[in-house]
Amino acid sequence: MQTVKNNKRWSLRDVIFLAIIAIFFGIIYQLWSYAYYALAATPLKPYANDLTLGVWIMAGPLAGVLLRKVGASVVGEMLASAVEMLLFSSWGASTLLSGFIQGIGNELGFACTGYRNWSKTGLTFSAIGATIVTFIWDLFQSGYSQYSLGLLITLFIIRLISIGFFAGVLVYWIQQLTAKTGLIK
């Protein structure tokens, strides 16, 4: 079986690996968007955004823990958003911008550990980083600054839980499973 070696440079193999995962994520996003749409067509749209956000953010930290490279989270998330925009997005240009912002949030988390911890601690920081950075972005981009403070606090907590589960706990479980196979060293 093939294994992945970790070094700083981006090899052809790394790029194809992340791009294939990004396309799988494109399919998964499409499935999620049905649930999202049911809520998003109502005034509950901000709740829909924050409840499902974790799924949209997963690709970044997953790329990070699999490749363990500086920049892997940003590149992984950017690839997933580029695939999404090219294949089936209803968000148009904002898909790429949000992908970049989300990737930066995760990347900051891993950077906080000096890129040394790619497990529980790194993922915890990455989830917190992504929650804070994307929330600040949405204050402007999605107009959250116009909502009342009470709603903002509720949304922030929902977002933290969603990102914490999908981009934190679930990614950690996936990493543990993958580690058991011994394919990624």
Partner: protein, 226 residues
């Protein structure tokens, strides 16, 4: 599939899309949002994109625009109507900006154009191209992963790590095979490549991009129309 037509160079359109998309996130103007939509629609008509596809894409986004608009009427503070219209129309401004790129060019053309004019590395260009060519097989594989779980009496839900493990294993195997195949066909990472196709880009198009982006920022942050 018929070849998609574009009037401006793909790399320039990408720069315009991101160059206007970023300040758009901070601008608070309904009129400018509508202006962007209008200009993008004119460009799409000029490029003769498929009318039917465009209508479908625009209709699919309607619930999102409605949800944004409505949520500010219910939860907004301050001038609710103005805010509602800003964020409702913004959904379409983003979407139409994106469509000026995605509906007028193919993935292959876009990647080659970004390589030639914005110096995206060949490893990324050809790696992405290789993966995109697998699109049909990846969709098939996703179904197969679900079916093979069903045979064992399991259902993979989107919150179960097992599903993602299968995806990662597939990606590992395929990316290894593809990268080896490409290397054995003469692809060398980081080496200069012979350009077989030339993607023309007259200098005036860069000028147009700069003028469009700067005048948008000027209008959005200095004039600030309603």
């Amino acid at each position: 599939m018929p070849k998609k037509k574009h009037l401006l160079n793909t790399a320039v359109m990408t720069v315009i899309m991101l160059g206007i998309g970023l300040p758009l996130s901070f601008s608070l103007s309904v009129k400018l949002n509508l202006l962007i939509c209008l200009l993008a629609i004119f460009y799409l008509i000029a490029c003769r994109v498929s009318f039917k596809t465009a209508i479908i894409v625009l209709l699919v986004a309607f619930p999102l625009a409605l949800g944004s608009w409505w949520s500010f009427l219910v939860f907004g503070t301050g001038d609710r109507w103005h805010t509602a219209w800003i964020y409702g129309t913004r959904v379409y401004a983003y979407l139409l900006l994106g469509m000026t790129v995605t509906m007028t060019t193919s993935v292959k053309e876009l990647l080659f154009s970004l390589e030639e004019h914005l110096h995206l590395s060949a490893t990324f260009v050809y790696g992405l191209l290789a993966a995109f060519n697998l699109l049909g097989r990846i969709k098939q594989e996703y179904r197969q992963i679900q079916y093979s779980a069903l045979i064992r009496g399991q259902v993979y839900h989107l919150w179960q790590p097992g599903l993602y493990l299968r995806i990662i294993l597939t990606a590992l195997n395929w990316s290894g095979d593809l990268a080896e195949a490409m290397t054995s066909q003469g692809f060398s990472e980081g080496e200069p490549r012979t350009q077989m196709q030339h993607d023309p880009l007259p200098v005036w198009q860069w000028g147009l991009a700069v003028i469009l982006i700067l005048s948008y920022c000027w209008a959005a942050f200095i004039i600030r129309p309603w």
